[in-house]
């Protein structure tokens, strides 16, 4: 066997064992909290409150899942989140390709100025109140576009897409132009298919960020019918964390009752809201492939 400079033999069993052990420990540390939440969500309510399980649930009770599945508010929030995710992702891909394509054109007039103009807001923004004022004046308060539009334009993603587009040889575009293709045709038929890897990356980033986002909804969507899933989850979790010392006696009873009855429900809700994202990742992995540039150049 070859012995490397660092002294570890290639194919060394000890090294393999240590690597497996280390990665196994990392897996356990990463996965166990999720597993604990899962077993706590299916344990009997008194054990869910006590939290006295380790590897297996104590008792078995699916009542929380029944409550969740019959909760119309949660399903509406789910639907809202799906709407925001799909629309935001589609708009993000649209804006990224439309912005990145001209910026990768050599000789574009004012390109430097445009890029600088785009880069400045990456470092700082106006802050919450000025943004709120703008959104209010645009009539977006209590409107789903207040959540969709800010999430569908990302300068970082534009730069990612532009960098990828710039790596596509100019000769492809030139040869298409010679064949009579317009800019729209080149963008639609050549650049976009070749940019599938970066578009997949942008998509998954956008999906995860939009799925998990709640702050814009907190500020701009007081209407519960429009609120996304994460805000609903936040509400359920926060209802359990009231500071009882700040309440007079006649309000403590209700706060305690609410706090104790929702413990198991809280864990079931965490599982319910996390599963879609967990399932989405494997489907997108297979799309992370390099574009194929076969037969695109003649001569």
């Amino acid at each position: 066997m070859l012995r490397q400079k660092h002294g570890i033999r290639e194919g060394s069993r000890l090294a393999s064992m240590l690597i497996y052990l280390a990665t196994g420990l990392c897996c356990i540390v990463t996965v166990y909290p999720m597993y604990y939440v899962l077993i706590r969500s299916v344990s009997a309510p008194e054990h869910a409150l006590a939290g006295d399980m380790l590897l297996f649930p104590k008792g078995f009770d699916l009542n929380s899942y029944r409550v969740i599945l019959s909760d119309t508010t949660l399903w509406r929030a789910y639907g809202n989140t799906l709407l925001y995710v799909v629309v935001t992702t589609l708009l993000m891909l649209l804006f990224c390709t439309l912005c990145a394509y001209p910026l990768c054109m050599p000789g574009l007039f004012g390109k430097k100025a445009v890029v600088t103009y785009l880069l400045i807001p990456m470092y700082f923004s106006g802050g919450l109140i000025p943004t709120f004022l703008v959104m209010n004046r645009l009539g977006l308060y209590n409107n789903i576009w207040a959540v969709i539009l800010p999430g569908s334009l990302s300068i970082w993603n534009i730069i990612l897409a532009r960098t990828y587009f710039a790596s596509i040889p100019d000769t492809i575009r030139e040869s298409a132009a010679i064949d009579g293709a317009s800019h729209f045709t080149i963008l639609l038929r050549i650049y976009t298919p070749l940019a599938k890897p970066i578009l997949a990356v942008i998509s998954i980033y956008t999906i995860v960020i939009t799925w998990n986002s709640w702050f814009n909804a907190l500020v701009y969507l007081p209407d519960t019918a429009l609120q996304p899933l994460q805000l609903y989850l936040r509400r359920v979790l926060l209802e359990n964390t009231v500071d009882l010392t700040k309440l007079p006696m006649n309000e403590v009873a209700e706060a305690v009752r609410r706090s104790l009855s929702n413990v198991q429900l809280k864990y079931a809700m965490i599982i319910f809201t996390t599963l879609p994202v967990l399932f989405a990742y494997p489907f997108f992995q297979k799309h992370f492939v390099k574009g194929i540039m076969v037969g695109s150049l003649k001569g």
Binding site: L138, Y141, R235
Partner: protein
Amino acid sequence: MKHLKKLTALFLAAALALSMAACGGASSAPASGSVSGSASAGDGARRLTMLVPNNTNQYIKFDEREDYPVWQELKALFAQKGLELEFEVVPADQYPTTLQTRIASGTDLPDIVCLTPFDDAAAMDLANKGTIQSINTIMDEYGDGTFNSFIHEKYPFMAQLTTAPDGNIYWYTSIQAQTYEDKPAPTCRVINIRKDWLEKLGLEAPETAEEFISVMKAFQENDMNGNGAADEIVTVDTSGDFFMTGIAQWFGVGNYLTSVDVKNNRIVSPWYQDGIKDYLKYMNRLVEEGLMDPDLIGATYEQTSQRMAENKVGATFDYCMQMWLEPSVNAENVEFLPIANLETGYEPYIVIEPSFFSWQKWAVTKDCKDPEAVAALLDVLYSDRYEELSAWGIEGETYEVVDGQRQLMEGIGGAYWEQNAKDRKTPGGSLWSGCVFPTVSLYTMESQFTSRPEHKNEFQKSVVFQDAVYPDAKYCYMAIATDEQNARKAALTTDLSTYSSELVTDFILGRASFDDWDQYIAQMQELGLDELIDIEQSQYDKFLELSK
């Protein structure tokens, strides 16, 4: 062809811009739940918009108020005054964020906002900037006397607590007034010990601090929860800036970093009091002997309630009349017994929750252009009929009068909320109190006794007329501070509270030495403890002056 494509592209861009603008609608659309809140009063109806948090009752929802007869009764009251209310109802957890951004934006504000998330300093800041209007000027000019009589004659503590340094009142509040035999009757928080465990072991309730330790040890030695471990403990919260543990009170120690001594009309700090060292030594003993779990110092309510659920709590600090601990324990026949004033060699006292209590805030914003409507609203909210609808509901449906005392009917209230929601029968307070409208809770202790076990009633009766020493809710004894005082308190409080709570923890865990006591006190003085006491003394003096 090229021109056509350019024109098409321009047209599409313009169409996109227009459609986005059209989607917006009004510049600040009201939130969900925006419904005309009262019956139409015809032409000339006075309209008020209110930004308020939603109620948090799991079953009885404000959004379904139109189905409740008690709401129709309240609407009728508003209609008599020609009032129409529009509500912007925001979920309670989201409300502080919504309120802060709306207030900070300063435009298109509703007429009335629930200002509870703002403390007095922040609320006064809004008053100084003109964001909220003074209520007393409105009521003096347009009120019919109901509100003024309520806050100046019937329950003057409300005026005392809400009058700003400039003499104006900028917000109205919830109030609670509790009586027993027609006299002010406070409730209290004390150590509650497991009565069923005492009876099982044939022990009497402890009367001294030493007996308390003996009893707790007996719980452990006899493994009262039957799990084979000596894990029966006492749970009290020693974190934060307060010394309100029930046990500190046995040693005559004040209940906050700065406490109100109502007997001597002065502000004191436990760090300067005689019993503090022995109290800290006692708490250290509880930890050393395994009777208190140091992991629970600073724990959340959920963490301590886990221990309760596991049947590991032999004693805890809570209201003497509470009824929520027993159901939270996974065991049969659980009973808690309140105990207080255990002998320690110091003068003990009980943490009294004031019988007259004022909290939460609602304010009138600068964008309200109809002061007469505001006057009409407040005259309704502080009327006898509103109090009746809020606290009791509709006679014959939710409450009855027995021997001259109102009492809720069987099957109404707390434990029956789910059924009450289905039947649409509830006191109005479950729908709107403390969020949309203020709580006006004027109830008798006698009505509370009907739903409590006798041992708790006996304890409450034995302490009901005890004089307060260092009362709970000390802000009920503080007039509103000036801007300079608020600024100094903001600068001092965080560091002092942090140092104080860390020092208490260090003493309880045995990490701090009493030999260095003077250094610790000197450090707190350097952090401004004496200045904080002086500021609060002036607030208390102002409160006393307004009480005359």
